[in-house]
Structures are given as structure tokens and as C-alpha cells.
Symmetry: C2
Subunit: 274 residues, 2 copies
Amino acid sequence: MAEPGMAGGVAAGDRGVEQTFGRAAAVLDALADAREGGLRFTDLVGATGFSKATVHRLMAGLSAHGLVEADPGSGRYFLGFRLAAWGAAARDRHGLAERAAPALRRLAEQTGDTVYLSLRIGVLSLCVARHEGSFPIRALPLKPGDRNALGVGSGSLAMLAFLEPEAAIERVLADPENIAARERRGIDEAHVRRHVAATRRKGHTFVDDLTPGMIGMGLPVPGRGGQPVAAVSIATISARLRQPRRKAVLEHLAQAVREIRGILGEAPGLEFAR
Amino acid sequence: MAEPGMAGGVAAGDRGVEQTFGRAAAVLDALADAREGGLRFTDLVGATGFSKATVHRLMAGLSAHGLVEADPGSGRYFLGFRLAAWGAAARDRHGLAERAAPALRRLAEQTGDTVYLSLRIGVLSLCVARHEGSFPIRALPLKPGDRNALGVGSGSLAMLAFLEPEAAIERVLADPENIAARERRGIDEAHVRRHVAATRRKGHTFVDDLTPGMIGMGLPVPGRGGQPVAAVSIATISARLRQPRRKAVLEHLAQAVREIRGILGEAPGLEFAR
DNA sequence: GCTTGAGTTCCGTTAAACGGAACTGTATTC
DNA sequence: GAATACAGTTCCGTTTAACGGAACTCAAGC
């Protein structure tokens, strides 16, 4: 939960419009975090800090419209499948994942490893596509739909490190939403800063200290304004990215970036994403 | 929609809870249908039938919480990326797509064609996973997140045709939601009935009249109660499913079904889906 | 100039969201 | 088997914000 404790606390600023949506979003966020096991009524009350009556009303409304579903046996709540349809449309609203698929598939075949396409959404990174290669050990640190703090992970870091001017990087690192997402993963700011510096030096990201034995590299995809709007990255086991293979992989990555950059030119509704 | 207006003297009835969510859902449905181009304010007013003031208030609330986003240039609305995160979690709320991935990947490799995993959601079918094979011509009639009327498409049909008792099939075919989804694709009931009959005769689905040149086969995955809760299907070009290859492919499909059936046993929150 | 369509704001009415509290139901404990 | 604790539901008086009609701005297009 992004909400720092503060039971029932309504943020000062947004007072006035559609408070209910914020509450519904808090519930859905909690359920999304819970993933497999679902959440009981009381868990939701605890997670959101809303009163029991409010949560009860909220759940009745949400489940009436298929946004959540309740297991009649256990009474546990899950996200509803109606969200799945919206989510698919949202992720692919510009057809990017679909249109970038050939380039990513080729990259996965060339390298044999798992490749990712991520998008910058404000101060977060959203994974929109994942393609697996043929190498029998697969590195799968994230999957389509996952969000991360900008700066955490090889693709996400690529988008942060090449923001211009550098003050923009500071702004991201100071943003509460970014901080919250970072802390959820237990990554401190100094760590990200070190990575940013190294990335700007090298021209690409190289992350080997996030998951033991796993390694990732990424390159930013610049949008029309030159700012990074997406990233292509690869994840594999440490042994598979030593020189000289590393250099070859980077070239393949760069090739994919060029292709996807071309696709971006045609895509509407991308650059304005928050 | 179809709201008669009438502000005064509403009979006690079931009138009451969370009307706003229904309106929000209508807006999001409209935007999901619109896909790539987004929708203007007026389009939304037209599509939903709500007053301009209502839509305006709704959009302000939704965009304040990242559920929709507006292109500052054109003023067009798109689904927000926050939905993408929820959608991914909803689709994979039981970890099925993730856990079934090895079986599906193997099936795609064995056959070289595109394979699908679908789930039954009430009277609809939801595609939860797609794995592409190596054959250079790929049949991609649907993608993860897509919904279809139960009975339309090889996977979806497999779940309908093996419902027991047969009266349950009638109930699905008579359901307004099923009818609406079917009509959206321009498929009439008699057509589905013919397919159901043929499927029950053969023991698997065989669909070659939905998209010219394309062919699909599917098998149901029975849940704990014996009712089909999921389906594994394959899509390819017509030339690739003649005998004797067809028989071999069917055996691979059956093997994948066995594996996924085992996984289903462990999955919580599946059987109760609506 | 006038007209037309898109989008925004205002405002009085009224439905519905709100939370405290009382309530039911079901395990758990001694 | 009374006592306790926790999960979940319902009730109700108060408060809030959702509601739509209408008036408004703004920018084309004729």
C-alpha cells in the first residue's frame, strides 16, 4: 500500500471530486498486491483503514459490477475478470506490445535469453511485454503488467538514467510515489544513484545486485522529444553475460531499440503518459 | 445505459448501491472497445448516454486516480496504465497462466503452432495465455485478456460443448450476455449449435469457418466437479491440420490438458468464477 | 456577422455515501 | 457450556457529493 499508515486519512489536496474512486482504487490495489491468496474482508479493512461499513458497501458495489469476485466458500475476495479485459486494452492501448513483438521475439531468439519491453509511466516503470528465449534456465524477475519504481531493474534504470536534464532525475528520486515503490523492494536511494552514475558512464545499464545469480542489461528507447519513454532489457544468469558475449548482446539490444523507435513514431497517445 | 431518468419516487426495489461504479464501468468499457484511437469527450457522452455534466465529473474522478488518461493535445481519453497492473493481477490471480506456462510452451514447441489457454467466466471465455510456436506463419485470432462468447472459437467452444447436463448449454445460449457477445462477432445461434453437436461427437473442437484459411482445435480442461473450467486450444493455417498430423497434435493437446488439470487441483479461487 | 458543436461551470435538489454502533454468527478457550 | 474473541452484516441519522438542466466559453466553419 502506498498509503503511509494514516487510517482513514484523506490526502489534503484532492478533496472534492470522486472520493469513492480513490477508495475503490485502494481496495483494488490491496487485492492486486495480495495476488494468489485473495484477501478477507477484515484484511481489506486493515489494509485500507476504512471503516467496516465503508468497505462492506464498497465490496458490494465492486462485486455487483464484476470488478471483484468473492469466493462463496472462504469469503475471500479476488480481483474480477472484468479488470483483465480493461487491463489488456490499457497495456496495449497504442498497440505497442503487439507491434514490437517481432523485434522482441527476434532478440529473444538471437540471445536465447528473456527480453523485456518496459514503458515509463510517470515515476514508475511498467512491463508491457516479455519474450522468452530458448536457453533452459530462464530469468523471470518481472512479468507483463508489473510496475516498479523508475530506477529499479535494468529496463527501469535505463529510462531513469538518461532523463535530461539531470534535475529531472532528482525530481523522480524525490517523488513520494517513486520512494514508496522503491522502499517496497527495499532499495535505497544511494544504491540507485550509484547505478545511475555507472549507467551514464557506460551508455547502458548493467544490474547484477538485485537478485543473486541474475544479471540484466538494458537500453533506453528515446521518444520524439529525446527523453526515454521505453526500455528494452534482457535478463539472464550471471555466467551468460561475460565478454565477449556481452558486447554482442548489446549490439542486438541496440538493433531492437532502433526498430522499436521506428514503431514509436507511429504510436499515438504514448508520450503524454502522466 | 437505458436509464429512464425519472428523478422522483423510485420504488423501493433493488435500487440503490453504488450506481457510480456502474457508470464508471460503462465509460471504461467504451474506452476498452475504442482501443487505439481513444475517445473524445462527446464520444463518451454518446456511447454511454449520460449527461455531459456526469461524464465530465466522471472523467475528472477517473483521471485523478490514473484509471484513465487524457491526451493534453487532442483531448482524447485513453485507459490508464493503472488498469494494466490490476488487469495482470486479475488474469493471473490464481497463478494459472504462470504455472501452466511450461506445459503450454512445450506444446507450442512440439506443434510449432500458436497455443492458447482460456478460462470460463460465466457465459464468456477469457484468454489468459498465448504461446507462439516456431512455424513462420502465425495464427493469432486472440490475445491474452480478450473475451469471447462461450461457444465462439475453438477453446471457448470446448468449454461450452462439454457442459453437463445439456440443459446448461441451453442456459448459456439463452443468456443475454452470451447473445450480445456472440452478435458482436456476427455469429448466430444455429451455427454454434452445429459446432456443439459436432464437438460432442468428435470429442474435441474443430473450427475452420471463423476466419478464412485459419483452423483451430481445442480440448476442455475439467475442474474438480467435472465441468469444464478451462480449455487448451491451437490455431494455425488450414494446411497444417490434415491427417495424420491432426491426430498427433490432438495427442499433444491431451497431454497438455492432463498437466494443466494437475495444476488446477492446487489453484484457489478458480471454480467459483461467476 | 451568425451558426454549430465541443467542452466547462454553475446551482438547487436529492440520492447515496458515510461511520458509529448495535447486531449476528462462528470459532476458540478454559 | 459459559465466556471470549473475532469476522462479517445491518441499521440509522448526518453529511456529502452526485445528479442533470441550463447557461456559459471557445473555436471553428459558413
